[in-house]
């Protein structure tokens, strides 16, 4: 475990160095281009300042900004007992020092993400669409995946990597715009337009176009690897890979797209909310591996340990492996457990357990947002509950089951 985290740190360090170098080269080229010859170091200074400011902001505000941008509401145990319970269970299974804060986003598209720079301050957020669609086993798989990200220190790594890539993208964008709108003119006035100025211009333009792509590709490659490891973690925590596999299928089959997802927050989610189905470019530029592949690996697991995941991964993809050697070494060799209904996700009518738990979850999340939205709950003596919206026009509402008339006002 510790070695795994250390490997993450080494990787994050290498990434910081490589991407920082890219950032500085870009800054130097822009300096030479806009400021005339010899101004390269000033460009580097500007680039470093941009990066530092962004890093500081994201370091101290990152999680809050993430949650605010996504429109997340913090939930207490009494709001959503089932969700809270699952997070508690998975916190224990993952051996985290503290249970992460739990947030819910009101969005019909099913998805989830984790955030926070240290396990002690981490948070996990799920959409209402996810809670409405999953049963308890599947939710456990998803939460296990997110807590896997927290335990494997992926959030820290991805935050850092994301900010660096972001700084490069912003610099390149601003620089390119500057060249387009008059930067070139002032340069030719100042230097008289020599050969070297032309070469610098070409280098600056090429860098401005290539650097963001390169930064993004490095970032995405690492991101995908972290997803497999988080999947493996979820399987180990839950000892029931089928839960996550069937959750992923449900999420993939959902027709809704996440309303709140932006390019910046997309890599944080359990499945890429912006991905368009059937796109060839998707493989190289995806933040997440293809769902079908993830499901296949999970379903192929013979046991509930990292080694089984590794073997199944190798069989499904033909690639070497995604689990660090350290995780395989002290692997427990735990067995799989059956699903909570026995029948699992076979979808048979007899599997009333998962369906019932899915209904309970759906009602809990609906009620949470009805309360937020100022709905009035009126229990009727026949067993129904009427939920009246704040903008309801008439003063009375009829219980459709027993015909009793309730006063609304």
């Amino acid at each position: 475990m510790w070695e795994q985290i250390a490997a993450n740190r080494r990787k994050s360090f290498m990434l910081v160095v490589a991407t920082a170098l890219l950032l500085m080269v870009l800054g130097y080229a822009f300096g030479e281009y806009f400021g005339g010859r010899g101004s390269g170091p000033y460009g580097v200074a500007v680039a470093v300042v941009v990066w530092l400011v962004m890093t500081l902001v994201s370091w101290f505000q990152g999680d809050q900004v993430m949650l605010a941008v996504s429109g997340a509401h913090k939930v207490k145990k009494e709001d959503l007992p089932v969700l809270f319970n699952v997070v508690e269970e998975m916190t224990l299974a993952a051996g985290l020092p503290k249970m992460p804060d739990v947030y819910v986003i009101d969005d019909p598209a099913p998805n989830a993400f984790a955030t926070g720079r240290r396990p002690e301050t981490a948070a996990v957020a799920v959409t209402s669409g996810l809670l409405r669609r999953l049963n308890r086993d599947e939710l456990q798989g998803v939460i296990g995946h997110e807590l896997g990200h927290i335990r494997n220190r992926d959030i820290q790594l991805m935050l850092f990597a994301g900010v660096l890539a972001g700084a490069i993208v912003i610099l390149a964008e601003v620089g390119l715009r500057g060249m387009w709108f008059g930067g070139g003119r002032s340069r030719s006035r100042r230097s008289g337009g020599g050969d070297s100025a032309g070469i610098i211009a070409v280098i600056a333009i090429v860098l401005a176009i290539l650097a963001p792509l390169l930064a993004r590709l490095i970032y995405l490659a690492i991101s995908r690897k972290r997803e497999y490891l988080a999947d493996a973690s979820a399987a180990v925590f839950t000892r029931y890979p089928e839960g996550l596999a069937s959750a992923l299928e449900k999420i993939a089959a959902s027709p809704q797209k996440l309303a709140h997802a932006t390019r910046a927050t997309a890599p944080m989610y359990i499945v890429n909310p912006l991905a368009e189905a059937g796109k060839m470019m998707a493989r190289a530029t995806a933040t997440h591996p293809p769902i079908a592949e993830r499901v296949k690996v999970l379903r192929g697991m013979g046991g509930a340990d990292f080694r089984s995941y590794q073997e199944s991964f190798h069989q499904a993809t033909g690639k070497k492996g995604v689990i660090p050697a350290s995780a395989l070494k002290d692997d427990g060799g735990a067995g799989l457990r059956p699903g909570s209904a026995g029948a699992g996700a076979a979808g048979s009518a007899a599997a009333a357990g998962p369906r019932a738990s899915q209904r309970t979850l759906a009602r809990q999340v609906d009620d949470f947002f009805y309360r937020k939205g100022g709905y009035k709950q009126i229990p009727c003596s026949c067993g129904t509950v009427l939920k009246i919206p704040p903008d309801f026009k008439s003063h009375q509402a009829v219980c459709p089951r027993c015909g009793k008339v309730h006063d609304v006002a």
């Binding site: 409405r132 369906r355 209904r359 759906a362 129904t384 026009k393």
Partner: protein, 128 residues
């Protein structure tokens, strides 16, 4: 949510963890996508095919896109409005029609739903 037919605010009725939206004016019923499927006996129970009809398309009460007119149920006998992403709109008595169609094809509805709908939409029907 506003009724796609009368555009007045609807209210929510929950019974045994089943939830639907009800229009106080026309008695139409909305089920969120996935809500009705959860209660159906098998995957095929809610299959639908596009309907040929003169009725004008209504806007989805959640996303405002025009809903499709579809025939739903094992016998494809009930004409309802369907939004592919959000859910299904049943006019008054159409839920009842669907229950009858399911029964005719000897498909059993979830007992909780049957009890709920049985109380809500009695076969003889009270007129409001």
């Amino acid at each position: 949510m506003k009724c796609p037919v009368c555009s007045v605010p609807t209210y929510v009725v929950e019974y045994k963890e089943i939830e639907l939206d009800l229009c106080p004016e026309c008695g139409g019923v909305w089920f969120d996508r996935g809500e009705l499927e959860l209660l159906m006996p098998s995957e095929g129970a809610l299959e639908m095919s596009p309907a040929r009809t003169e009725e004008a398309g209504r806007p989805c009460p959640l996303c405002a896109r025009t809903m499709a007119k579809v025939n739903i149920g094992p016998g494809r006998r009930v004409l309802v409005d369907s939004c592919a992403t959000c859910g299904l709109w049943f006019d008054r008595h159409e839920v009842e029609d669907l229950s009858r169609d399911l029964a005719a094809h000897s498909m059993e509805v979830d007992p909780a739903l049957a009890e709920f709908l049985g109380g809500m939409f009695p076969v003889k029907g009270e007129e409001a």
